[in-house]
Amino acid sequence: MFGSTWKKTIGALAVATGMAAAGQAAAEDTKVGFVYVGPISDHGWSYMHNVGREAIEKELGLTTTYVESVNEGPDAERVITKLAKDGHNLIFTTSFGFMNQTLKVAKRFPNVKFEHATGFRRSDNVSTYSARFYEGRYVVGHIVGKMTKTNTIGYIASFPIPEVIRGINATILGARKVNPDVQIKVVWVNTWVDPGKEGDAAKALIDQGADVIMQHTDSPSPLQVAQNRGVWAVGQASDMKTFAPKSQLTAIIDNWAPYYVARAKAAMDGSWKSEDTWGGFKSGMVQLADYNEAIPADVVKLAEEVRVGITDGSIHPFAGPIKNQAGEVIVPEGEVADDKTLLGMNFYVEGVQGELPQ
């Protein structure tokens, strides 16, 4: 809340002035606003949304505005309202916790279009979009299952929401495909960014025998710890290789740019409709960073096969049989978990250690 900074960026004016009269009018009419939960300097979640914003400016020459470090509380409503009042006709709110505030403001501004990331409530002028990060984690699961010597994956998790639980489950499902003995130890840190605590969690997991560190938090601190301790790690949201050149096996990258550009275009030409988009490898919303050279060629080949399989639809990470920790079958053989099950996921699958906090 205290860290909120207003920054305005005037889009590439040269591009706008060079456009045809009609296009110019549309470009001048369309202003795009962004609300970020973290600072754009987080090198992770908010940073990647900002990369998407920059793509809108660069490719469409639109004026965009962003507000960073916005609290997921009442302050978000104020910020979103301000953007709507200031004449932004397309507003992206890029955190799950902005859901109710986005819908509330959208009701008051029916002519403004809203895009809420990772949420599940829509209205006539509110779209939702998210990325199937679990697809990336499933591929990564295959890699870490092969790379671990101790059969223990350490996983630093933020909050027990379906998005995070899905990632943990996808990882173990992928890992168990190649290594039935592998286990995941999960530590919940109850924060998205606290480098000190994330690093401490990584240390605790390594001390307890984990030789691969994965994370669903936003700072590169766990990778740094992994690098210093000589264990493997997987980057989160963006390529974090600079922090762990030896340790980073790969990274799951959020690529919002194509979606953002397409939606801004739709808003310009009037074809924008309220929709729900959940993109993965196929739409390019989820990408993997370059594989570490230390990964054996056959493991890379396997990972690529899985990635291609998910992209063309022949492989589904949550294909049955899937059992929960108690051994009960949740998804029977021959079926795949539907999106509703995935979006509401609130149980650990077999192979995850510990109890899921409620």
Binding site: S41, G154, V187, V193, P195, D200
Partner: protein, 307 residues
């Protein structure tokens, strides 16, 4: 749990506690002089970014530590001018300092996120390889040792030196100290600057040793824990040191037991330091004698020489 895990856990707790020790020692001296500076979090985070930026640009971690301390002291100078010369309310000014510090650190830090830094070197070569006691006694970075020395020095200063006695006199009764010729404002200025430098050092430890990178808001409330610690320790340096290890330990132990599959609500553990502080406050406030023994009598009160 085998001994290797216990040793590793103790090492983790020590790095987590060290920034708290620095910030709490600084604030302890400030409060002993009768000044309440709630800006610890702000001074810490400015110290963290200035230390990190300097270490990255110059390549010298030592220079980073110095600049981090100077930055913390610089911010506290602002507080000193406002509260000592311009008679601003301590609480309001301190809160403003925290908000200002968080914003300022984000501004300075623009462009430093995503840069990496090698952590401070750890361990005394040869000695740290001795089993068990090696890593525990000799396996730390230099600032961990300094935090122990600094605690001893502050304790000695407050109880055994004339200057320490004068500082306490100013904190307990500024009018009396003034009437026998001590410059209350000058003494408080020095205490505030020391507090700022120590908070800056705590911040520098976070961004140079604890997690050597820069992320906005990376102190994550540790300044507030340090403030709570001072009260928890009833203004005694070694108790503050112990408290820092206790508070740091609670966080780490919670992470460790999660790895073993035991579930304690993390929210409960993160409120423990504050709960403990409230309990201590209630206990000492119930007894007039205890209040007199511990809390500086002039804490947070404005001083005007003409009174």
């Amino acid at each position: 749990m085998d001994s290797a895990i216990v040793i590793a856990s103790v090492l983790t707790i020590m790095t987590a506690a060290t920034p708290l020790v620095f910030a709490a020692l600084g604030e302890l001296i400030v409060e002993k002089s009768g000044v309440l500076n709630l800006g610890v979090e702000g001074m810490m985070i400015v110290g963290a970014i200035c230390a990190f930026a300097t270490a990255v640009t110059s390549g010298s971690a030592f220079l980073g530590i110095i600049v981090g301390m100077l930055a913390g002291a610089g911010l506290s100078l602002l507080f000193a001018i406002l509260t000592q010369n311009l008679m601003a309310n301590h609480v309001a000014t301190g809160l403003a300092l925290t908000i200002f510090g968080i914003g300022l650190s984000a501004l300075i830090g623009d462009g430093f996120a995503g840069q990496k830094l090698d952590p401070l070197p750890k361990g005394i070569p040869g000695l740290s390889d001795i089993p068990v006691i090696g890593p525990l006694l000799f396996g730390h970075d230099i600032l961990v040792y300094f935090s122990i020395v600094a605690t001893g020095a502050v304790a000695w200063f407050l109880t055994k030196t004339r200057a320490g006695m004068i500082l306490r006199a100013v904190g307990d009764n500024h009018d009396a100290a003034h009437s026998i010729g001590y410059s209350v404002i000058k003494i408080r200025y020095m205490a505030i600057l020391f507090g700022g430098a120590m908070a800056g050092l705590g911040g520098a430890y976070i961004s140079l040793a604890y997690s050597p990178l820069w992320a906005e808001g990376m102190t994550a409330g540790r300044g507030w824990i340090a403030l709570a610690l001072v009260v928890f320790a009833t203004w005694k340096p070694w108790r503050a040191f112990l408290g820092a290890y206790l508070f740091g330990g609670v966080t780490i132990i919670q992470l460790i037991i999660q790895g073993y599959g035991i579930n304690i609500p993390a929210q409960f553990l993160s409120m423990l330091p504050y709960l403990a502080t409230i309990v201590v406050l209630v206990v000492i406030s119930r007894d007039k004698y205890l209040v007199k023994m511990n809390a500086p009598a002039c804490l947070g009160k404005l001083f005007h020489a003409s009174h």
